[in-house]
């Protein structure tokens, strides 16, 4: 399977809200800790090393623009 980089989330505004809400009231260190947990949980859920490798690359590439 290939990494899906086309719109795939229903109600994107609602999800974005939920993502920020999860970080509400956290300081930087706590937010970093939450993000790390989230990445690990989602990576396990995806469970496909090829897809994860593409995701890591897409994230890294977007930094270098």
């Amino acid at each position: 399977m290939d990494l899906n980089l086309t719109p795939n989330l229903p109600d994107p505004d609602g999800f974005y809200d939920e993502l920020l809400a999860a970080h509400e009231g956290l300081d930087k260190a706590e937010s970093d800790a939450l993000n790390a947990r989230l990445i690990l949980i989602l990576s396990n859920h995806i469970g496909d090393r090829a897809v994860l490798r593409q995701a890591l690359k897409a994230a890294r590439d977007s930094l270098q623009r």
Partner: protein, 541 residues
């Protein structure tokens, strides 16, 4: 003079002057330098095959302190083949349960749940001095049976000249210097290998800037026989990680990761060590400090383990972090791999090129160990802020969620090396179980009487299961054993079928002297077996 260096746990080979010290240099087929686990195992293996071997050690016995303490199943299988396994099992502590803590929280608990149908447990804990003593005991027993093994204690190698077709060694003894010549030299002289240095050979890899304090304490308190590992231990001044593990004789092994910038001398002050141990065990615990030491480690190896007539084995050739018990266990696999090859070359039954495959196969093993132990070290000692954040996230998630537990890395325990894709491998002509594929060490199985590995006793063996193997007892002077088994008679538990046949109704395996699978077929003729044996002894296809 040989340097006293360290205290002895057992004085096993006291210095005794030999006539050769006053004579012109005598030539030996094999000289092994270093009487640690690897040198002793190599000497024992060669001697039992009838190849004369001289072992030189700069001390007169076994050094004190637990050092290597976890011996894996494959090591026990190899020592079984060498006649020392029973003593190891009788003395060793068998353990299965490990607990992992982060601070005061228990993150999770694991059970090695050893697979049934093996003679040996997954691991035993045993102090290194016992391991070495049992090998020396087996050497003494082999000598009585005529094995040509000689050990010379307090014989320190101080110089070396490589003459191309042999090596000349300068040796210091309490009675002064003398020389010996060796057709083949096996350097088992440890991480700081003087022989490696004399040859000016490099040793490349990562040095980890960390110090570990080891304390062996004797106590009668009733701690369970479990491996307890702490990330960021809650007891004061205990460093980044700590380990508590039981050994025989009511001795407990503790490792404290102290960091890089420490005052070694101050840290070895008994009062300071006691403060740390008190913090781990609780103030009320009564114990006696038996042995303490500070060590650092590297993850690195030599580029090649063979240099002409000189072969490196064990820590002299490669070093790993202690997480995973991959040091001594991989060194024993080196000895296991080297002994039969050297024996055949010395007898003129195989080309010298066979010894290049020792380097290839064991470099492959060393790389696997270095990869695993480097990863464990990176998890244990996060090098950046973000790696610490992810590490702690894994530990936090592991408490509640099973998915994160396999990521917790306090050392991946040593498993046998499989020689996938190596040049000695012959045909893989059986759609059989992966665990016993070509290149793998044979997996043990209970038979109607005894265990399978006890029947594979150090020579090439044709294992025929429910099949008639071609009648072959030697190939070009190399003797070949036959082991014919029938699952309806010899396999009461069905384990042999599961591990060697899978869905097939029959199979023929060619097994190397070190119990690795050289080739396997559903059916084969004598020509195919001969060809595979030639391949497995470095004579090409």
């Amino acid at each position: 003079m040989a340097d006293a260096g360290y205290g002895l746990a057992f004085g096993l080979y006291p210095y005794a002057k030999v006539a050769a010290q006053d004579q012109p240099p005598q030539r030996h087929a094999v000289v092994i330098v270093g009487g640690g686990p690897v040198g002793l195992a190599a000497a024992l293996d060669l001697g039992r095959k009838g190849t004369p071997v001289l072992l030189l050690d700069d001390h007169e016995g076994v050094g004190e302190g637990s050092r290597a303490i976890c011996f894996a199943k494959r090591t026990l299988e190899i020592t079984d083949r060498l006649g020392a396994g029973q003593a190891m099992r009788d003395k060793g502590v068998v353990w299965n349960v490990g607990k992992v803590f982060h601070g005061t929280d228990k993150v999770f608990e694991f059970n090695l749940l050893p697979e049934a149908g093996h003679k040996n447990p997954a691991f035993i804990n045993l102090q290194q001095p016992y391991f070495e003593k049992f090998l020396v005991d087996a050497i003494r027993a082999a000598q009585e049976d005529g094995a040509p093994i000689e050990i010379r204690g307090a014989n320190a190698v101080t110089g070396l000249t490589d003459r191309g077709d042999h090596v000349v060694l300068d040796i210091e003894t309490p009675d002064g210097a003398y020389r010996v010549e060796a057709d083949w030299l096996v350097a088992c002289d440890g991480a700081r290998s003087p022989i490696r240095k004399m040859l000016g050979l490099t040793f490349d890899g990562r040095v980890f800037e960390d110090n570990f304090l080891i304390a062996d304490v004797r106590m009668t308190a009733d701690f369970p026989t479990e491996r307890w590992f702490w990330f960021e231990p809650p007891f004061k001044h205990s460093g980044q990680s700590a380990l508590l593990h039981k050994q025989p004789d009511n001795i407990w092994r503790m490792d404290f990761q102290l960091g890089w910038d420490i005052d070694r001398k101050a840290e070895l002050d008994p009062a300071r060590i006691r403060a740390r141990v008190d913090a781990m065990l609780g103030e009320a615990a009564e114990y006696e400090l038996v042995w303490t030491s500070i060590y650092t480690f590297q993850c690195r190896r030599m580029k090649e383990f063979r240099h002409g007539r000189i072969l490196f084995a064990g820590d002299s050739a490669h070093q790993v972090s202690p997480f995973g018990a991959r040091g001594a266990n991989s060194g024993i696999q080196d000895a296991d791999n080297l002994a039969w090859k050297l024996d055949l070359v010395i007898r003129g039954l195989a080309p010298e090129a066979l010894l290049d495959t020792y380097s290839q196969e064991r470099v492959h093993g060393a790389d696997e160990n270095i990869l695993n132990s480097t990863r464990a070290t990176d998890f244990l000692t996060p090098k950046t802020e973000i790696s610490r954040i992810f590490r702690n996230a894994v530990l936090a998630l592991a408490k509640d969620h099973a998915f994160a537990r396999p990521m917790v890395n306090s050392g991946r325990l040593s498993v046998p090396c499989i020689y996938d894709g190596m040049p000695l491998n012959g045909p893989e002509a059986l759609d059989g179980p992966r665990a016993t594929r070509v290149g793998a060490p044979c997996v043990d199985a209970p038979l109607d009487r005894g265990f399978l590995l006890d029947r594979l006793a150090g020579q090439f063996t044709i294992l025929a299961i429910n099949a008639a193997a071609p009648d072959l007892s030697e190939v070009d002077g190399i003797s070949v054993g036959q082991l014919a088994l029938a699952t309806d008679r010899h396999d009461p538990t069905g384990t042999l079928r599961d591990r060697y046949l899978g869905a097939n109704d029959r199979a023929i395996y060619l097994i190397r002297p070190d119990q690795h699978v050289a080739a396997r077929w559903a059916d084969c003729d004598a020509a195919a077996l001969r060809a595979a044996l030639n391949t497995a002894t470095g004579k090409g296809r």
